[in-house]
């Protein structure tokens, strides 16, 4: 892979690279079968986990959104199980992806902040280690923060596709092979400080600006090359990319699956910047408008007009991504992978365009930022099923472990998903939280946490530095937009959920108290 990347930098076109990747010896993608032989038989299914970053169920037509953002996904869902009440445990990539990979809530894996990783105690507790006995493992994360988490569990990854492999730029230092053993701290050093790429000052006084010049020139070159089809600029992960290349690359990666494999593919779209292709540019300029919601005291106080505009851009980008990623779904079907694989399509967290808040860098825990899609296709599934039980991103790992015949790890905090070996339990409590300003090594002090149960949500915001402490309680059945806070009326269920929440917080904090 690295040799090919080198060739790429010497003038090989990206499309040629994608063709060449198909010639890569299969042996580098698959673990020697002798390692797996004892546990594997011909019926062992693959697990393909497809993650779209910052993808909110609130903006997906499959989940009732008025704008037709994802018609192609709806077709994929015709042969799959749609989970209507699935929630991410975190509100941005680091905690959200960590929960997905470890089956742990953020309070256990402690990856609360941008740049943080899973704590040492749980670093080996991932979906890759849980299925290591029966499956070859493959990981790709286009988002650098998610890629850090893959590096943390790298020794359980038989194939780790480089973060920039499918981008049109390759300028991140940490993913250079020489830092493979120490990529997480190399990332914190190089990408966070030494070369900051446009944000703040580089710690490299002389080479920093020269490297910036090189990168900016490369961005300009790539934008000239591919920009015609992207009126708002090329999609961007810090490195630029084009949507069709990413999908083509993912297809090439999956073509090499041989023997039972767990493949984790984490794509950057529809994460911001929201840069759709020409075809979808302005698609939702007219028509439906979102309901007004009052500005939250913890929000960024962004005005309504900007939020509506950004929501429209986001929806256009989702629609654009849907029209590209449909080729991946088509490939899965035509290649026969849908016949012998469990395919999970989900997200690490959602995106918010309301109450004065934009994006997902927020303490708020409303549906748009925590309610994420989950669509699971079982091997050979021919009809659509709909499940309304409340589920969490921490359930993916125990589900995969259960379905693969591996024991559900004792550390896992989730349960197998209903319809895939789990029970339909309406009264189950699902938690989401944010603690990005809290230390990973101390009790939770600055945080927000929500408990969702029985179609109700109780959110607790505790930010002493901002002198803000408040409970909010919503009936999601009758008030899906969470407009009417019922907490002040003191309903019995709110009191019960509050007790459960406070007990949980006490339990979480106990080991961290001195």
């Amino acid at each position: 892979m690295q040799r090919m990347k080198t060739q790429l930098s010497q003038g090989l076109s990206r499309r040629d690279f994608l063709k060449l990747i198909s010639l890569t010896p299969i042996s580098i993608f698959a673990r020697p079968l002798s390692n797996l032989a004892a546990a594997v038989n011909g019926d062992t299914p693959n697990f393909i986990i497809i993650v779209f970053d910052a993808w909110s169920a609130s903006n997906v037509s499959l989940y009732g959104y008025p704008r037709q953002t994802m018609p192609h996904l709806e077709r994929f869902a015709e042969n799959a199980t749609v989970y209507h009440n699935h929630f991410s445990a975190g509100t941005f990539t680091v905690p959200g992806t960590s929960s997905l990979l470890t089956g742990l809530h953020p309070w256990s894996h402690r990856a609360f902040q941008l740049g943080a990783g899973i704590i040492a105690e749980h670093v080996d507790h991932t979906i890759f280690s849980a299925l290591a006995a029966t499956h070859a493992t493959l990981g790709y994360a286009q988002n650098q923060l998610a890629d850090q988490l893959l590096y943390q569990t790298d020794h359980y990854l038989d194939t780790h596709i480089l973060n920039g492999s499918l981008n049109v730029q390759n300028n991140l230092v940490y993913s250079a092979p020489i830092f493979k053993k120490d990529a997480h701290l190399a990332f914190a050093s190089f990408e966070d400080k030494i070369f900051q790429k446009g944000v703040g000052y580089d710690s490299s006084l002389f080479l920093g600006p020269l490297y910036r010049l090189y990168i900016l020139r490369d961005r300009l070159r790539q934008t000239i090359k591919y920009g015609d089809n992207y009126p708002r600029g090329l999609p961007d992960t810090v490195e630029l990319f084009v949507l069709d290349d990413v999908v083509n690359g993912a297809i090439e990666i999956l073509k090499h699956i041989q023997g039972p494999t767990l493949a984790y593919l984490h794509f950057h779209p529809p994460h911001n910047p929201y840069n759709p292709t020409q075809e979808f540019f302005g698609k939702f300029a007219k028509g439906w408008l979102p309901p007004d919601k009052s500005v939250h005291p913890l929000s960024g106080e962004i005005n309504k007009k900007s939020l509506r505009k950004q929501r429209r851009f986001y929806d256009e980008y989702i629609a654009s991504w849907d029209s590209e990623v449909t080729r991946l779904f088509q490939f899965l079907k035509e290649s026969g992978l849908t016949e012998n694989s469990y395919i999970f399509v989900t997200s690490d967290h959602g995106e918010l365009f309301e109450r004065g808040e934009l994006g997902h860098w927020t303490p708020l825990l409303y549906n748009p930022v925590v309610h994420v899609p989950l669509i699971v296709s079982r091997p050979g599934q021919k009809i659509r099923e709909d499940i309304y039980t409340f589920t969490s991103s921490v359930d993916i790992l125990p589900t995969a472990a259960h379905l693969s015949g591996n024991p559900i790890p004792a550390w896992a905090e989730g349960k197998p998903l209903p319809g895939l070996g789990g029970e339909n339990r309406d009264a189950r409590s699902v938690f989401s939280m944010d603690a990005k300003t809290n230390s990973s090594f101390t009790p939770l002090v600055n945080f927000s946490i929500s408990i969702t149960r029985d179609h109700h949500r109780l959110a607790y915001y505790n930010y002493p530095k901002q002198d803000y402490k408040k409970y909010e309680f919503y009936d999601l059945n009758t008030d899906a937009h969470e407009l009417k806070d019922l907490y002040s009326s003191n309903p019995a269920l709110a009191i019960e959920m509050k007790d459960e929440l406070l007990q949980k917080i006490e339990e979480i904090n106990r080991p961290y108290r001195r």
Partner: protein, 178 residues
């Protein structure tokens, strides 16, 4: 061999310029590190923070060596009067003016590739200033003395930053090899 040696500045002068480069690169890097430290403390343990510091110091040390090597090479290639003669104070001027120019360039470079005009200004102004300072210090001895005095005081930091840089390189190499 003797001809080749004659082309290069004297070792003591090279070390004097290296000490200024090391001082500037390391101090700037430490400032950046301290700026990030509060967020690192939220999620990294002391050992991990030390490793990040080692990466930054190792890079700063290599950057200093590169800058000094570039100046030494330029001194060897250019006519002696331009850079090699009086390498210590001329190198000091290059590093000092270059640092300010690099800082301004960093400040101006964000998300767009700059215009050719801006790039030329970023190149021409520092080079002009360097030429002016060299000419001024050549003609006016006290200015040259002030610079050499500052350089002399800064050189003490080489004994602090130098070992930190070397140990940091070892830490980075060790972590990535084993």
């Amino acid at each position: 061999m003797q001809i080749l040696q004659n082309r290069f500045p004297h070792r003591s002068e090279i070390i004097a310029v290296l000490s200024v480069s090391v001082f500037v690169c390391h101090s700037w890097s430490i400032w950046g590190f301290l700026h990030e430290l509060p967020s690192f403390l939220l999620y990294f343990r002391l050992a991990e923070i030390s490793v990040v510091f080692a990466y930054m110091m190792a890079f700063a040390f290599l950057e200093s060596l590169l800058i000094t090597a570039g100046l030494v090479l330029a001194g060897a290639i250019l006519p002696s009067k331009w850079l090699r003669d009086g390498f210590a104070y001329k190198g000091f001027i290059f590093v000092a003016v270059g640092s300010i120019a690099a800082f301004i360039l960093q400040k101006n470079l964000r998300y767009e590739f700059p215009s050719t005009q801006m790039l030329m200004l970023n190149l021409v102004i520092p080079l002009t200033l360097i030429a002016l300072f060299i000419a001024a210090s050549h003609m006016w001895g006290p200015l040259q003395k002030v610079m050499l005095d500052i350089q002399d005081r800064i050189s003490i930091m080489l004994y602090v930053y130098g070992p930190i840089g070397l140990v940091s390189i070892l830490v980075v190499v060790f972590r990535n090899l084993f």
